[in-house]
């Protein structure tokens, strides 16, 4: 009898340290104003009680492939490092003027020896000083609960502690503020909640990769 009681206590103790016993899920869908799925949209959920787990120092990757940043949008948690390996057989010169992280990686090939620390939340716009059309974004967020939509406009966030959240989205071309997209969501069980955004987009004007007629371009 005492032995069974002891086993029950041990099981209860194990369950207690794994609390919460379930993790909530958020199924996000982001569409453009035309109703088509919108990839490369960052979905962020922030616990309204402000309780965030301690940040882990991770190293994320933003490649340069065929004279483009890959991925185009990279969400990371504040405190993360980002490595910028150059997979092209030429040199790139990566920079950002964005206030959350101003930096410059002058002419390099291969992988820079030191990754770049992104420790302030915000949007960091990337460029290459040789290939002006190259454009990419690092979205730095204070919460570990984020994701990026795929080609189907969807992203699932799981392992969320049950609670009330403020969910918001960001896309490089969204017309309007990120704050205006905030939706308050109660995540109470493991079945998950679905939330949908429809974003109005602006036109992206990039320097042209194909030279204009009569111009030689950068080379």
């Amino acid at each position: 009898m005492m032995k069974r009681f002891g086993i029950l206590l041990a099981v209860q103790a194990c369950l207690a340290v794994q609390a919460p016993a379930y993790a909530a899920q958020l199924h996000a869908l982001v569409l453009g104003q035309d109703g088509k799925p919108l990839p490369n949209t960052v979905v962020v959920v922030m616990p309204e009680d402000g309780q965030l787990p301690a940040a882990k120092r991770t190293v994320e990757i933003v490649d340069q492939i065929d004279k483009e940043f890959v991925p185009y949008v990279k969400p990371v948690r504040a405190g993360s490092y980002v490595q910028f390996p150059n997979k092209d057989n030429i040199r790139h010169h990566v920079y950002s003027f964005s206030p959350p992280k101003k930096f410059e990686l002058p002419l390099y090939s291969g992988t820079p020896s030191q990754p770049v620390l992104f420790d302030k939340p915000g949007i960091v716009k990337l460029g290459c000083n040789i290939h002006d059309w190259m454009l990419g974004y690092v979205y730095v967020t204070e919460t570990p609960y984020f994701g990026k939509t795929g080609a189907d406009g969807r992203v699932d966030l799981d392992q969320l502690p049950p609670g009330r959240y403020a969910a918001r989205v960001w896309h490089p071309l969204m017309d309007g503020s990120e704050t205006a997209t905030i939706k308050h969501i109660d995540l109470v069980d493991a079945t998950g909640s679905s939330v949908e955004w429809k974003l109005k987009l602006k036109t992206e004007f990039r320097p042209r990769r194909t030279p204009l007629p009569g111009e030689a371009g950068y080379r």
């Binding site: 483009e68 057989n89 030429i90 040199r91 010169h93 920079y95 003027f97 410059e104 002058p106 002419l107 090939s109 460029g127 000083n129 040789i130 002006d132 036109t203 992206e204 004007f205 990039r206 320097p207 042209r208 990769r209 194909t210 030279p211 204009l212 007629p213 009569g214 111009e215 030689a216 371009g217 950068y218 080379r219």
Partner: protein, 294 residues
């Protein structure tokens, strides 16, 4: 033979052992063009219109010499194939070098470049064969994400390979040997993410070649005269070289097709003013082309 050796030498320089991280590139265009005055004729009777198939190709590499300085070396090829006046049909082979300097960091940093180009043209009408040279200094700046401006100063020159026996004693037959100083400015505007409009103006001061039926006025003001059968021999026409100040207005629309290609529609109006009794020469050129850049 000398021309071939010269081009081979340039090719060896370009495509010999290169730094492993040179940025190789290839550009090509193919299209059609219509010119309402290919003869650059003065009188209505002498103005000849024609259409042509055009193609250009260039390949080479770009080497970033320093943080803000780059050198581009390219081999060039082009052809213009006229439908009616086949004597104007020609193939050009040449090379270009461009040194480009950017003044600062970012897409909107101003830049300047100097370039030199030489191309040999081989025409169906052999007396037009020759070398075209130009040296250009240009500068530009992206004013905003949609607006770009640029300006240039260019010296151009054409030297024919061979000269006819002078048809008029005491007057040179180097009618195709022309030169000019060009001062130009252009602006481009991104209408949409894929559509760019550009407009430019160039003022050229130099000499031009025209083909007309000869008369006393033409002979009086010409510095060179040669027989030119390209536009027919009855009546006998002559190519002649005169001094002129030319206004060149250009408008273009370009629509990108994916990352590497674009379709382009361009219009150019040229007005050459002789400042003499000869009057003015003008032409309208419209072209449609598909371009690829890798």
């Amino acid at each position: 033979m000398t021309k071939v050796l010269a081009l081979i030498s340039v090719g060896v320089c370009l495509f010999g052992p290169r730094p492993a991280q040179a940025d190789w590139g290839f550009d090509a265009t193919a299209g059609v063009a219509y010119d309402d005055n290919v003869s650059n004729g003065l009188e209505a009777d002498d103005r000849r219109a024609d259409s042509a198939f055009t193609a250009t190709a260039s390949g080479g590499y770009y080497e970033q010499l320093g943080t803000n300085t780059g050198l581009g070396l390219s081999l060039l090829a082009e052809t213009t194939d006229y439908l009616h006046y086949t004597g104007l049909t020609n193939i050009g082979l040449g090379a270009r070098a461009q040194l480009r300097q950017k003044f600062g960091l970012g897409a909107d940093a101003p830049w300047a470049s100097i370039s030199a180009q030489a191309m040999h043209h081989n025409y169906h009408y052999d007396y037009r064969d020759g070398w075209a040279y130009d040296a250009t200094a240009s500068a530009g700046k992206q004013l905003s994400e949609r607006w770009n401006i640029r300006g240039l100063v260019r010296y151009d020159r054409y030297d024919a390979d061979q000269l006819q026996t002078p048809v008029i004693p005491g007057i040179s037959s180097a009618a195709y040997n022309v030169w000019g100083w060009n001062f130009g400015a252009s602006v481009s505007f991104l209408l949409t993410a894929d559509d760019a409009l550009s407009a430019g103006y160039t003022w050229r001061n130099g000499t031009v070649t025209s083909v007309d039926a000869p008369d006393d006025e033409i002979l009086e003001y010409s510095s060179a005269v040669a027989l030119d059968p390209v536009f027919g021999t009855s009546p006998q026409m002559v190519a002649y070289r005169i001094k002129a100040k030319t206004d060149i207005l250009s408008l273009a629309w370009s629509h990108t097709l994916g990352r590497h290609a674009a379709v382009n529609l361009a219009y150019t109006y040229s007005l050459s003013k002789t400042g003499s009794e000869l009057g003015n020469y003008y032409s309208n050129l419209i072209s449609l082309s598909l371009s690829y850049s890798y």
